[in-house]
């Protein structure tokens, strides 16, 4: 559906950055408290600045496992505010044609700046490479869809990670300190079930939906979010899982989410070397690993990653293909008892190490 003509075509990206700077400063002055947290993603210091306690509570929990006392300058600073709690006006937002889907994203960029807005959801993300600054605005911190507290700022991380030689990938990751697997596939493929089944094993957990992967000097999983999504069938399949930290709106087909760092802190990790890329599928009567061609696993990884983030570019697909040229690819049937999944992954890792 075409966009209506801009109402203020003279607006420039410089002006838009200025508007965001001013918008955050207004909200920070209006807030009862400016909450600042430092986290470490891989070896990079990232500072989160929340104008308001409610936002810090909503969007900070997923990074608890990455908390770090930092004294050096951050490589990325994310400024976060909302309009409802701060009582400040929203930044200039693009218009949408009537009838546009609720999830419509309007995206613009130049060489070093990205802007993505979901007007109907009341969300805006922006990133400026030269200053290492990013902004996340939402209309109401108390009315975020379930995926934001589960995987906050992933659009910003999708823009920033390539500047550090890494990628944001749609996948789960479990493993050991000396190596682990990336589990890839579209929703319903079983990757989340695989990852969450490992919480009662000795395997470490780096994420169940999105993780970073550092490409050089050696492929390495970078944990981003300590959340776990609870699927409707998990209560039966994975009885060890706790009640949700927050419940999604079932009427909107939202999932409930819990924070692994709260309930299984000993299982959370910051990442590990990547040893294999595995595409699970719910099939068979017991977990079974098969060697797969790299293209088969690329088909499980790339579309679901590329179609959920903007921009989707050839460079990202090429980087994923390059990763699959270096890392062995496998399929994993995950039908049958879920308690057999962790030892199956442990055996695969042992075979790859030998």
């Amino acid at each position: 559906m075409p966009l209506p003509a801009p109402e203020a075509a003279e607006g420039t990206l410089d002006n838009s950055i200025d508007e965001l700077e001013k918008g955050f400063e207004r909200a920070a002055q209006a807030a009862v408290e400016l909450v600042e947290r430092s986290i470490r993603i891989g070896d990079a210091h990232v500072r989160l600045r929340f104008a308001g306690v409610a936002l810090a509570g909503q969007l900070g929990c997923a990074f608890e496992h990455l908390a770090h006392e930092e004294t050096d300058e951050p490589e990325l600073t994310i400024h976060v505010w909302d309009s409802t709690d701060s009582g400040t006006p929203p930044p200039p937002l693009p218009s949408l044609a009537p009838g546009s889907p609720r999830g419509t994203t309007v995206y613009t960029a130049d060489e070093g700046r990205h802007f993505a807005c979901r007007p109907a959801l009341g969300q805006l993300s922006a990133y400026e490479r030269a200053t290492g600054k990013a902004w996340f605005w939402c209309s109401n911190a108390h009315d975020l869809p379930f995926w934001e507290p589960a995987a906050p700022f992933r659009q910003i991380l999708h823009w920033w990670l390539p500047d550090r030689g890494a990628l944001l990938l749609h996948g789960a990751a479990v493993g050991q300190a000396d190596g682990g697997v990336l589990l890839v596939g579209a929703g319903g493929s079983g990757k989340s079930t695989c990852a969450l089944s490992c919480l009662t094993s000795d395997l470490l957990y780096a994420g169940d939906d999105y993780v970073g992967v550092q490409i050089q000097p050696e492929p390495r999983v970078l944990s981003l979010f300590c959340s776990g999504k609870l699927e409707p069938d998990h209560a039966e399949l994975l009885p060890h899982l706790p009640s949700p930290s927050f419940a999604g709106d079932g009427a909107l087909e939202e999932k409930s989410v819990f924070y692994v760092a709260e309930r299984f802190p000993e299982r959370m990790c910051r990442g590990f070397p990547l040893r294999a890329i595995v595409a699970p599928r719910v099939q068979g009567v017991e977990p079974q690993v098969q060697r797969r061609g790299p293209a088969q696993v690329l088909a499980a990884l790339a579309p679901s990653t590329l179609l959920q983030l903007v921009p989707a570019r050839q460079e990202a697909l090429s980087a994923m293909a390059g990763l699959l040229g270096d890392i062995p690819a496998f399929g994993l049937d995950v039908g049958g008892p879920t308690e057999l999944i962790p030892p199956t992954i442990e055996r695969l890792l042992a075979e790859l190490a030998s």
């Binding site: 109402e7 607006g11 006006p89 937002l93 889907p101 790299p294 293209a295 579309p303």
Partner: protein, 146 residues
């Protein structure tokens, strides 16, 4: 007829002898194997259907006209999936059969017609969460507060 890859809406990578193509506009993705990969790589090099066909005839044993017809069908299927678009500006370009290295008929292997698999399981993302990319003249915005 010359087609070109429908960039930037269509992106692709070949790994392990198989090509994965993603149509970012439709959300469909495609898997190509065998001679379909060779046809796609010819398109990426900007070659015409005729040139791609001649290259395949130098590598594969087939009935007269079989390869040409197979390439034509495949390109029409690609066009139907909006993976390629006609490129009138480059019609009649590039290599003739004389430009290709000669190959004895004995070295050629039997031709297997190209085909591909299409996957549509991700198109809901495009339908529910479409992306409108606007140019860098600026952020098209209504007045604040609307």
């Amino acid at each position: 007829m010359t087609y070109r890859v429908n960039s930037p809406h269509v992106i692709s990578e070949t790994v392990g002898g198989e090509t994965i193509i993603v149509n970012l506009a439709s959300g469909h993705y495609f898997s190509l194997q065998g001679t379909a990969v060779e046809v796609w790589q010819g398109l990426e090099r900007g070659e015409s259907a005729e040139t791609i066909g001649l290259e395949l005839e130098h590598r594969y044993e087939a009935e007269e006209g079989e390869i040409e017809a197979a390439v034509k069908r495949l390109l029409e299927d690609f066009a139907g999936a909006e993976l390629v678009v006609e490129d009138a500006s480059r019609n009649g370009n590039n290599a003739s059969s004389e430009a290709l290295p000669s190959q004895d008929a004995g070295e050629r292997v039997p031709f297997v017609a190209p085909g591909f698999a299409v996957f549509t399981d991700m198109q809901d993302i495009i339908l529910l969460d479409p992306v409108h990319e606007v140019d860098t003249r600026g952020w098209p915005h209504a007045s604040a507060g609307t």
